[in-house]
Symmetry: C2
Amino acid sequence: MGRDERGVTPQSEDFSAWYNELVAKAQLVDRGPAKGTMVIRPYGYRLWELLQGELDWRIKDTGHENAYFPLLIPESYLQREAQHVEGFSPELAVVTHAGGKELEEPLIVRPTSETIIGEMMAKWISSHRDLPLLLNQWANVVRWEMRPRMFLRTTEFLWQEGHTAHADRDDAMRETMLALDLYAEVARDIAALPVVPGEKTAGERFAGAERTFTIEAMMRDGKALQAGTSHYMGTNFAEAFDIRYTAETGRQETCHTTSWGMSTRMIGGVIMTHGDDKGLVLPPRLAPHQVVIVPIGRGDEVPAAARDLAGRLRAAGVRVHVDDRAHLSPGYRFNDWELRGVPVRLELGPRDLESGTVVMVKRLGDEGKQPIPLDSSAEVLPGVLDDFQAFLLRRATEFRDAHTRAAGDWGSFTDAVASGWALAPHCGEPACEGDIKAETGATPRCVPLDGAAETGVCVRCGRPAAYGKRVVFGRSY
Amino acid sequence: MGRDERGVTPQSEDFSAWYNELVAKAQLVDRGPAKGTMVIRPYGYRLWELLQGELDWRIKDTGHENAYFPLLIPESYLQREAQHVEGFSPELAVVTHAGGKELEEPLIVRPTSETIIGEMMAKWISSHRDLPLLLNQWANVVRWEMRPRMFLRTTEFLWQEGHTAHADRDDAMRETMLALDLYAEVARDIAALPVVPGEKTAGERFAGAERTFTIEAMMRDGKALQAGTSHYMGTNFAEAFDIRYTAETGRQETCHTTSWGMSTRMIGGVIMTHGDDKGLVLPPRLAPHQVVIVPIGRGDEVPAAARDLAGRLRAAGVRVHVDDRAHLSPGYRFNDWELRGVPVRLELGPRDLESGTVVMVKRLGDEGKQPIPLDSSAEVLPGVLDDFQAFLLRRATEFRDAHTRAAGDWGSFTDAVASGWALAPHCGEPACEGDIKAETGATPRCVPLDGAAETGVCVRCGRPAAYGKRVVFGRSY
């Protein structure tokens, strides 16, 4: 395989082609045989495991417990919440035959688990002492996808779905915002995505939710990616599934529920936020290999020194890989790890050994090749990785800010959403949202939580603006 | 809820009722709405997570990488390996409609992933340098179950499935035995199950395998449970899916593949090996709570001391839970944690505080209530838990040995399998296996790897014995 076979179309030429080629060539994924399905290869799955680990301990640390609910849900369950079934019907995969027979009632392959978890919650909750009930599930879900794109929209994807039940609205709203906070923290601190947390407008709410919150990330083509959502369901699902409790007063009350999810789509966000024409750029906290050591030249001395260095780095808490594929040229291996986004490469040859140094090359930056002392590299590298992590977040924040413009009139609005996001006053009417989308491709991404108070008139229709603050608009994935 | 509602039928009265009541009352599982499906509740799922963790690092440590393959498999894939499709056809769940339309080709909800992984391996392997390819997947699978039993046989279950490709038979057989070793290690060292590793007879092989190996555990009713299997596929799947490579010689060669799986069924094995009439007995290395502290009495002092003790135990690496449900009596809480199998309970009341002690009660054993000094309890408990773990393995080994008998004639054979296992010479003919099963309910569980060399005649038909050693027979789950 020569260099050309691994090269990818430049982002500036065709961002979409860049992405599709990169996820395949970096061996993150492959296409599955059923429409829109994806095979997550070891390098891509390791990214997911690392993200999972970061999210999972935070979920547990805030009092939630993991559980597992069945994949197959009776069709009638979905029909109990009217908006929910309407939202999901076009995307369902249906099992009609099993065990050699036609089923009396078809089973849905779960697109999300509100209904089956609602059914179980009703069984488990009887007293106020059973509340709050804080559950989370790591699972696969299936939503039939007509325009699939790896990680971003696939017929099957992996995610976690939190489902909680509470005594009242206040407690459920606290939970909704807590989950959003967890997502924002993981996105920023681990994935280096400077996400904007905010609330969805009525037209963009989850099917069955009373309020939907989101974290929105900006990709390097200026589009938005919804990277996690948290929903306050009110009593919609509790009414549909009869989730009730006896209060301290002795009265029967209806629970308020929430749900929230983050998925493998997040990996797509990492790729499109940090990647460049050479390939992936992975934030150290998510990188399967934070450091790759490439031993150069023949003989046993260099590989032995590389293994020794790797051992010391591992002991310092660094995820390190030694690329000892001696049948491949050093240049080939360098390019390979650039394509695969490893934050730091260490090149080690006989001359480096003689001088007691190793050559460090960061995946981004102007420093080029920097010799560092072999002896102190295990002390130096953790700091280099922390700096690289911070650099990625800073760079992405600057990019987002440079591509976000306040837009008070239609002309500046259309300009802004052509290459990034617009911050605009908006009436909040679904019909007006539809007009905006039809003309520009942009949709309201969220009403940002930290937006400054401002009144005004809708950038599109001139009616009074809603929400008391500007709305983020952008084209999206 | 009174004591009676939590009590379970004694094992001696009805082992099956004991099991079914216990898994529900200990809040491990609940029934799902679709036939044979199971909801794994937080306490049960935590057991699974701890087992997963122990198995996952061992799988990675031996060079395997995790990946994820699609849930939905085209029906035609399964038909490519004749024995495989024959073995699984009666158990398949079939998606015929998706995205609002009837599918051109039905999709199978994976019962196991040999076929789809075989298809991808063929794509990824071209040279001898790509071998061995060592993959593992954590996933849910669906096999339609007519006689479901929680954990043991459920329509959907969770498992890991290892799938590997090798250059030749020797390397694939080494892998097959390596996986079996990992399973035996986890079973013995973590789950405290004294499993017997061995090979399945021809009649009990996996559909499509050339050789199938198993670890067999004995339950407290004397029946056997297959707790993990490892298969050498020969070139069956490699031929069917065209998994080939160019050898160093330049010749095209066919790969040899393996697969191996361990599932949530293992949890059923833990319950039925260690549990008693009071409830679960969990091995400390799998117990969600290794120690539960029950503060007794009113006031703030005891709960504060309990939290302090919990902190010190946690710092000593112990998984500890404080049961501060003050609205429940101490006796109720004691019974509750006995039912749920917590290895060690610590009772802490005002008088204990005064004397600077805490009362330790182990889930099993003759020591009763033992006061131990509060100050040194964090140093003492880890050793107590290790001893308890060792005790469970020893007790289960003694039970197994006491219920396993060498049987050279038909009379002693039928006696042995009525209450446990028989070690018997056997001809190895499927027809003779069928006769044995029809008359006694027993099947050949395995030809034990460490069985002593012995020749003789079949305990049933008198023909010359095969395998050169005795075969383990038993009734099974």
